[in-house]
Symmetry: C2
């Protein structure tokens, strides 16, 4: 075993070895004019209002069907910016690494981050590397924090109005189901692929097509159920949802039945929910379907005092879509 191939504590000491890791790995994949200045802080400039968001990624396993912790770390933070109408421009990136991690694994993660960045046109402009002794962290955590100019203002959970329609950008529950399958070492005929993806291209197209957007949110931890409950509470509205209209892949549905999960509670990492005025429903759906044919209109907002989303079954029954509670799947993202 060659020690050169594994992360050592000295890689995080702030001395010679840290400098080498930064120069030979991070700058090689992430290098750009701002990062390369290598100051205590990056210098940026903006024309208008700026959005800022942060996320730490602790997913286990690090690699899964359709992505890894690196793709998640870039997509997740860029998506949070896109959801408020902001272009993902600048990211910080902080690695917390367990001593003994294979450098080749770290390099795979870093390479995926670089590929995912390229899909959004964003740049990593500052970073940090910590190495902790064996056992102090499970392999690798990554924090990314993003900033970007807001190109369309007032997209917010506070803007949802009675009459608005609710759409989802694609079938839901894939990321949660994918991690669950990996965690349980299930041998599925067809592996479930995470939906992990950057949403900026579809949001950019919605903006370009002048679709009026009241609210958007990516349905990550807590899934569709958490987003819709938060929206009902924030805007003081209620929602009627057609259960049969909510797109769920058969593989995800099967896994949910096996483990007693609801697909609405499962995390997504490349699917989002939209509230748009009814007259823009078709225009929004047309754009969404250019990217994913499963995009669908799933319900409508009404005035009301219960502030909860209601699921309507094809057989005429109704039930509340509850806020997810209790121990869902840990380390999903």
């Amino acid at each position: 075993m060659n020690n050169q191939n594994f992360i050592q504590l000295s890689h995080g000491g702030g001395g010679l070895e840290t400098n080498q890791l930064i120069q030979h790995l991070f700058f090689r994949y992430f290098g750009n004019d701002i990062l390369n200045r290598n100051e205590d802080a990056a210098t940026l400039s903006f024309q208008g209002p700026v959005a800022m968001t942060t996320d730490s990624f602790t997913v286990s396993p690090l690699f899964f069907t359709g992505g890894n912790i690196g793709t998640l770390a870039v997509a997740g933070t860029c998506n949070d910016l896109a959801m408020v109408g902001a272009k993902p421009q600048y990211l910080s990136c902080s690695f917390m690494i367990e001593e003994g991690m294979a450098l080749s694994e770290l390099e795979s993660v870093v390479a995926s981050m670089s590929d995912t960045m390229n899909q959004t046109g964003s740049l990593i402009v500052c970073g940090d590397t910590k190495v902790v002794p064996k056992g102090a962290v499970d392999k690798l955590f990554i924090n990314t924090t993003g900033v970007g100019e807001i190109l369309r203002e007032n997209i917010s959970a506070h803007q949802i109005k009675p009459g608005d329609v609710i759409l989802v950008s694609r079938d839901i529950g894939r990321h949660g189901a994918c991690i669950l399958a990996a965690r349980e070492s299930l041998r599925l005929e067809q592996p479930i692929e995470s939906d992990c993806a950057v949403l900026w291209p579809v949001v950019e197209e919605l903006l370009k097509q002048q679709v009026e957007l009241h609210a958007m949110r990516d349905a990550t931890r807590g899934g569709l159920a958490a987003v819709l409950n938060e929206w009902c509470q924030t805007s003081g509205i209620q929602m009627a949802l057609e259960e049969s209209a909510i797109p769920v892949d058969d593989s995800v549905r099967g896994l949910c039945e096996l483990f007693g999960f609801e697909p609405y509670d499962l995390a997504n990492e490349g699917s989002f929910v939209l509230a748009v005025p009814e007259r823009h429903a078709q225009k929004a759906l047309d754009v969404l379907q250019q990217f994913h044919s499963e995009a669908a209109l799933i319900g409508q907002v009404s005035a009301g005092t219960t502030n909860r989303p209601v699921l309507h079954s094809p057989w005429g029954s109704r039930r509340y879509l509850d806020f997810p509670a209790g121990e869902l799947l840990p380390r999903i993202c």
Copy 2:
């Protein structure tokens, strides 16, 4: 044992319990108009160029003489902004918490963060909470990422020129020595207090007094030795340092002798190094000494091709101050 007093996996699930933790703990201490909007991303506005920096904190133990991981997490990131002449304005904050952590401990950390924020006038505008199963992280890691307007441009390691003098803002090595003593459970007559502190007030005064500042850097991991070596390499200069002029507290010096460390290699969390033109040396020193009487002029820059700092002893001998290498103290910040 009441489970209500400990962090559960459900606190990080993105559902009901996560919401309660955010509302009842984080918003209670950090609440402000921007954070309280509770969107996917915060909305900020800036007038001029903006600095951005990130740091993850993994210090062990979480609590030490003179601070805790929370004071470090706010001071560390605010200080990186101050070092490039930027006012610390907006911070993101991400908690990675081990299942089973006492809520009272987490609350102490959060309360310290709030106190430290108040000393800089900065705000936490967005956040993230992850809870991982027991053993996946050692108690608590925190990432903070900061942005703020640059009030004085071109403070940079690239601006150091032959003839500049080098100053330190106070005695060095305290934070590293404090953590070392805590880690070794040393019972010292007088505990060594970390220098952990926000540097914005002293930087603000330097700016106000129109002190010309070529470069500033807080001497964190890698200590004074890492900063001076990086400066020599970046600016292609060399430095002569008077060893006897570098302020080191006797307690820190004693611990270094005991463990075979150099005080120049030990981390600081509230001490910084400055390069200023010689004609502003006294003015700079006067401001620094208003905050810490130990502030001192320690050396001078010269043109040269070795690009390394040289220590001059009181007995006329000289040696290179080397870049720290190897396993220094892990989890120092």
